[in-house]
């Protein structure tokens, strides 16, 4: 079997004159929590809709669990649980009836799964209350319960925190982490709340105007977002010696252009500055650097935009 749960190859989706997806090559490995980052209208939902078969691709292919032939690919969707855009529910039915319908549809034996799914999203006490009387957050949680009903190996969630209160958001994050950790569920999640994704995802894909600009792991992202002091002195070699010997710094690097990245003394710029000048170095530049996910995301988009 392929090492990827999901892989798209030159995936393209065109709506008349608009190119909603432009040759997207997405890679999601087993066990990952993959966060799709993008602005409104960037193509996140379109991508998820094509992956789940709601929209048909104009070009390229989708490989799901190693299968890319259309018939096999449709069959593989039985192993997926998904919540795309708003939850699809019958408003005149109760939560249990909505879940029962999907249990029948998926052919899941026994009704225990319904109770379990309701407990997972804290909706087990809704009784005979019709969905039309649910709050937005309750509907969202029921949508998640439906996605989880068949114990999916791959969970696709499009903006799942919509309508959830802060407690609900934290609970959902914990639930996703738990499913990923304990059951090995691979998750593809899209959200415009980047800080939320940052706490959850193990890999990221940045999408903008239908193009997948970058794929990176959380480790790589942390590396890129790591805070540091950027130092430029007239003699970088001597500067490095000063940092090592005078300040006993070990976590720094000297780039090819002579810029020094110091990952220590972030709150003590004065000491660094004094040490360098006392050793006869001229400081050309000394400033804090490092991005939040938001800044990094903006930077990637701007770089492409300016190119």
């Amino acid at each position: 079997m392929s090492e990827y749960i999901l892989r798209t190859n030159q995936l393209t989706k065109r709506y008349k004159q608009t190119l909603a997806l432009d040759n997207v090559n997405l890679h999601i490995r087993e066990g990952e929590i993959y966060g799709i980052i993008g602005q409104n209208g960037a193509g996140k939902s379109t991508l998820l809709r094509v992956i789940t078969g709601l929209a048909l691709p104009s070009g390229g292919s989708v490989e799901l669990f190693g299968k890319s032939e259309r018939n096999e690919w449709v069959d593989m969707q039985k192993r997926i649980g998904a919540l795309i855009e708003n939850p699809a529910l019958f408003s005149n039915m109760t939560a249990i009836e909505n879940l029962e319908l999907h249990r029948l549809q998926r052919g899941i034996p026994g009704r225990e799964c319904i109770k379990k799914a309701l407990q997972l999203v804290d909706l087990e006490h809704t009784g005979n209350k019709k969905v039309k009387n649910f709050s937005l957050g309750m509907k969202q949680r029921l949508g998640i319960a439906i996605a989880l009903l068949s114990d999916p190996e791959f969970l696709i969630l499009d903006e799942p925190t919509n309508g959830l209160d802060p407690t609900g958001i934290v609970e959902l994050r914990q639930l996703i982490k738990k499913l990923n950790r304990e059951k090995g569920v691979t998750v593809l999640i899209s959200s415009h709340i980047l800080s939320e994704l940052h706490q959850l995802a193990t890999s990221f894909g940045i999408i903008h105007k239908g193009k997948l600009l970058e794929e990176l792991t959380a480790k790589e992202l942390d590396e890129k977002c790591r805070k540091y002091l950027q130092i430029k002195v007239d003699d970088p070699k001597k500067g490095a010696i000063v940092l090592e010997q005078t300040l006993a710094a070990t976590d720094f690097e000297v780039l090819q252009d002579g810029t020094i990245k110091l990952y220590e003394y972030l709150d003590d710029v004065r000491t660094v500055s004094l040490a360098l000048t006392k050793n006869g170095l001229v400081i050309e530049h000394l400033s804090h650097h490092g991005d939040s996910l938001e800044n990094y995301f903006t930077k990637v988009i701007e770089e492409v935009y300016h190119d």
């Binding site: 709601l54 969707q77 699809a88 029962e100 549809q105 998926r106």
Partner: protein, 255 residues
């Protein structure tokens, strides 16, 4: 496929519109039969008169497309189209790992089942009950029973062709209101075409449609060839419209 049928049946049983339409059809049917059997309302010149079943003339309106379409298109609107617009639950079906053609076929079967209940079973059942209740049970003799079973068998076949058409309309329009409007316009269009049936080419074409067959199948003592033709028209319509409907649904963007 069985799972899809179970799910569709579950939805039909909980569909308020279905029960409301069934109730209205039952009420209307009971009223028609009582009025006609007690001779408060005289209806003549129907196909039922010709075979000595004038007491069952209350069945006649339920065999006219313009009339029964009101029930069929309402059910299509609130059972099929609403899944695309209001609830959006069609998404979950399409994502559930079944071929779209299977999803479509399961919907068609259960929708047709619901349609047969409200347009065939309810009028026939209420007719039989009212006939017995009003002391006209003698009309349910073997000879008449044979006629009713035979003609309604053929009628149901044509009706299955019609449900295939209305279901395709419901899937194309995706909105309850639009489904009802377009279905009514469609039956009006067929009625207009029927008025031009005197023209040889239009007439020949019209005679080979389910719309002509809806009334033709009630002709007393149909010949073998006419039976065959009626069956062929029904079966070909079902297969052709289902194939087109599935092709449309297979390529449809689900919003």
């Amino acid at each position: 496929m069985i799972n899809l049928l179970k799910a569709e049946t579950f939805k039909l049983k909980r569909n308020k519109s279905f029960w409301m339409i069934a109730g209205l059809m039952a009420g209307t049917s009971i009223l028609f039969h009582i009025l006609i059997m007690t001779e408060w309302w005289m209806m003549s010149g129907t196909k039922f008169d010709a075979v000595g079943l004038g007491k069952l003339n209350g069945l006649a309106p339920f065999t006219v497309p313009v009339f029964f379409n009101l029930a069929v298109c309402s059910l299509a609107a609130f059972f099929i189209s609403s899944e695309f617009s209001e609830s959006g639950v069609i998404r979950l079906q399409v994502m559930s790992g079944y071929k779209r053609s299977h999803v479509y076929f399961a919907k068609y079967l259960v929708f047709s089942f619901g349609t047969i209940i409200i347009t065939v079973v309810i009028p026939l059942l209420t007719a039989a009950l009212i006939a017995v209740a009003l002391g006209h049970g003698d009309i349910l003799q073997a000879q008449h029973f044979q006629y009713i079973v035979g003609t309604y068998g053929l009628f149901t076949l044509q009706l299955l062709g019609y449900t295939a058409i209305v279901m395709m309309l419901a899937i194309l329009t995706e909105e309850s209101g639009k489904t009802i409007i377009f279905s009514i316009l469609f039956t009006v269009l067929v009625f207009v075409i029927e008025q031009f049936a005197y023209h040889p080419s239009v007439g020949w074409l019209y005679e080979h449609t389910i719309f002509h067959q809806f009334s033709f199948v009630f002709t007393p003592e149909l010949s073998g060839a006419e039976w065959m033709r009626s069956t062929a028209v029904g079966v070909i319509t079902i297969l052709l419209v289902l194939a087109i409907g599935m092709a449309v649904f297979n390529r449809k963007e689900i919003k």
